[in-house]
Amino acid sequence: MQWEPVIGLEVHLQLATHSKIFSGSPTTFGAEPNTQASAVDLAMPGMLPVLNEQAVSFAVRFGLGIGAVIGKRSVFDRKNYFYPDLPKGYQISQFEAPIVGRGSFEILLEDGSSRIVGITRAHLEEDAGKSLHEDFHGQSGIDLNRAGTPLLEIVSEPEIHSAAEAVAYLKALHSLVTYLGISDGNMAEGSMRCDVNISLRPVGSGILGTRAEIKNVNSFRFVEKAIRHEIERQSEILDDGGEVVQETRLYDAERDETRPMRSKEVANDYRYFPEPDLLPVVIDDAYIQAIRDALPELPGDKRQRFTEQYSLSKYDANVLADSRALADYYEAVVAECGDAKIAANWVQVELLGQLNRDERTIGNCPVSATDLGALISRILDKSISGKIAKQVFEAMWQGEGSADGIIAARGLQQVSDSGALETIVDEVLAASAAQVQQYLDADDAKRKKLVGFFVGQVMKLSKGQANPQMVNELLAKKLV
């Protein structure tokens, strides 16, 4: 039987607010355990939550970014369960009335095509703390620094049908939220955590199969692997005539497998009910409009503009608009050098290549956009060749200064002085009498090859600085 996977993703996105969602504690990552936990975060008796307005505005920004209905009266609820890293014994979340309703956004697939994926809802909630099981000699430690960090839980429609599509969805989401500036999107620090709901059905069937939920998958790569594994596991069961059990599973990255969580960890009746310590969040049109007015250009619009304004291919536009930082960098390079095509090449090939090699991001790139633009300008005004430019770029990367400085210091200026070039050409022809004779005896096709040889010799002698076009002209004149 051919099985079609049906996948829905729930992403817990950490919002980049300065303080927690219901207390004034800072949200900085990596602090000493329990140094960022106030009496509210510790759920001391009598402590009360106060909603952080920035979290609300970030959620609304997300809603507008996916063209969603904004919940004008959203309600916080208590989700009740006991766990040591959940200090109140309930999580404040939103159940019946979320702040963001149905919306959708565009994802880019590997073949360059794109698709719209629906978002069911997104709601605000607080994060739990962390249980630390090592170093406590059979006991557990609790770190509540993360408790109360604002999360936006983004629930997709079950419209994703492969591991690759799931990854594409997450990448597009990552791009969108960093564009919106509502999250740092740092996966390694847990800023985007993913639960995967997955079921299989016979290809062509309209009925959903029984699903399993895989909890807390924390990188694009693990999402892909976990889904592939789970598809395999479920299709084996179904092929053997068995039934998939509805359950929550955990992805074990080390063993590359999913396994069921202990039933104790999942058998919860959360007893949701409206949080009586908080008032409903009422949002008016003016508030929404103010956020709408301040929205940045979103990835889809930017890609579109790049193809139109800079005549870029769809592929180039996709790469360059992938992150807001890269897109801004690219546009600054264009502004400096004035040539969108060459700028696109340089940014994609040289710049991204170097960033990859050095495991850096555009955020800590050692060469500024203006400096790269200036370097490209030197190619355009024929001061240097493209090949020399790569050397210069290398030096700029190492921090040796600006393009002009390096060109001057190393004497890399292209030689376009016809007298000087002529001397070099003559020298080469004199030293290659045999090849000159061969050339003269050869037909047109062979001659082309031999011209290449002479040009190479001239370049070698000029240390690459000879203006190639002028060398060609001189050779054509002399080889008769």
Binding site: M44, G46, L48, V50, Y90, R271, Y272, D277
Partner: protein, 492 residues
Amino acid sequence: MHTNSVAQLIEGLRERQFSSVEVTQGFLDRIDALDGLYNSFISVDASAALHAAAAADKRLATGEAPPLTGIPIAHKDIFCTDGMRTSCGSRMLDNFVPPYDATVIQRFRAAGAVMLGKTNMDEFAMGSSNESSFYGPVRNPWDTGLVPGGSSGGSAAAVAAMLAPAATGTDTGGSIRQPAAFCGITGLKPTYGRVSRLGMVAFASSLDQAGPMAHSAQDCALLLNAMAGHDPLDSTSSCTDTEDYCNALDNNLQGLRIGLPDEYFGDGLDSATGECINGALRELEALGATLVQVSLPHSALTVPAYYIIAPAEASTNLSRYDGVRYGYRCPDPVDLHDLYTRTREQGFGDEVKRRILVGTYALSAGYYDAYYKKAQQVRRLIKQDFMNCFEQVDIIAGPTTPGPAFALGAKSDDPIAMYLEDVYTLAVNLAGLPGMSVPAGLVGDKPVGLQLIGRHFDESRLLNVAHRFQQATDWHLRRPESAAGPLTGGAA
């Protein structure tokens, strides 16, 4: 001196008839001498109190002291006090010393008041007799064989016995008004949101409200002035302007329309208590008020609705007491489950466990719509009943309780009978209205309370009516004999 009202103490301190240290020492001596009888205090820190009193005397000497400077006040042990144990009447918090003050405590400190100590209460404010306290029951100063009412029974008894001139209480379903009635003092539950809940250990968040308990309406007004006001750290606290609650005390009652709900004068009301109430109403009529018969048709649903909503909220509010971060932890837990179950089994008393179970059940999947959601709908109907009445009348009056204080142990094995004690007070909390209990007579030696209910944020009018009533009567000046004690007319 201990017979003085807060208003009289303020005057005496300003006129240097006595110092705050003398007054404070006087009350501390009375607590020492008499509280063995009542068990109304859980914690007293005499040296801290005297220290604060000495500081108050210095401020008074400068002539620029805030209104309550030097006035000793007892606080219900539900308000967190920085550096002083806050037990909430429970073994669970027997070892809990908060590193912060509740907003109410901060406000009293800022107003210059001296904290005498922390008063006994039903465990987590759950009870109507003060028998559920981990620290043992409080006894009613009018007859130590009787309960003082609850849950603010310690505060009520302490004020009635003149161990403190005034106290704070909290009222989730009658916990200020019912003990005030049983102990013959004046108590006010303000409008929901009038006083900050921050730092007040939560029982039922949508119902809890702190208020003053004292001998007179005037004293309650003086205390409310210190307590009331918006708190940005309590999202449910109101931004409605506060006022000087003493301003309207003397207004005359000509033309005041008082609504008497049929449902509050029916079969359940003890006849002698009813007679006291009728006497008080005639007095108000004589002062110029008009009595109007009104109806609160959904009254019969009050007790069931309350006993869904309050336990539901309580069941999750009390989830934080898990033995992990503070408070009681069972000895030698073998694993997490054992830690949770034994900590909560040993840390909570029966009444608290009963309500956690009821509340958990009411919120469970499959029961939520039938219980919690339905109860919230009923709550809206009950509120609407009041709103309808307030179109015809300015305040509503009736008995605070169906009868006077009952004997210790009389109802402690019958939760339903205990819950029915609050039949006249619960609706006020469900509707978020302000309510008062004012001494209105005695049945034998047992005080009876007249309940006054006002429109939202109309505390001033309630205090005005109560004050005029107290100008014309002396029920609020009666004191229990047991409190005459060995110190009468002596040092204090």
